[in-house]
Symmetry: C2
Subunit: 98 residues, 2 copies
Amino acid sequence: MILEIAQIEIKEGTQSAFERGVARSHELFLRAKGFLGVELQRSVEFPGRYRLLVRWNSLQDHTITFRNSADFAVWRSNVQEYFAAPPTVEHHEAVNIE
Amino acid sequence: MILEIAQIEIKEGTQSAFERGVARSHELFLRAKGFLGVELQRSVEFPGRYRLLVRWNSLQDHTITFRNSADFAVWRSNVQEYFAAPPTVEHHEAVNIE
């Protein structure tokens, strides 16, 4: 299982529009191959900074399959006008700490 | 509910020791006031970079109660020798995208 964390900085005053754009895109994630879950998290310390956490079955489900899908283009068109900069994206693997 | 994300860069070659230090600290989190869950996530792109995701009932449960507890000092003593730099910590509030 892969955790993608995308850090997204948006333009001042576009919070509501950006959040609506993500909500409108929720169904695209739900139907993506290997998609396991998504959370939109707003920074307490930095207004205008968000982190989108997306859980995927495999790295390729995000970096190859989703990014090359028609739905990726729709996702970007729903939100990218609000971006203050290109998002930074990293992937993670869980470490067992039980 | 608050999501804390701590970005932790560790010294080369200390991955196993650091991960064991976090595992040893798991019980400290479990008994912290307002603690709701923890994940240790290792970056795929940057070896030596981790993100610790901790869910708290309130911001104060982390920034006041936990940080001023004896358990916080034990947590730090379990892991800080492996830090390459002081961790960066941010807090987040979930946005409803349903």
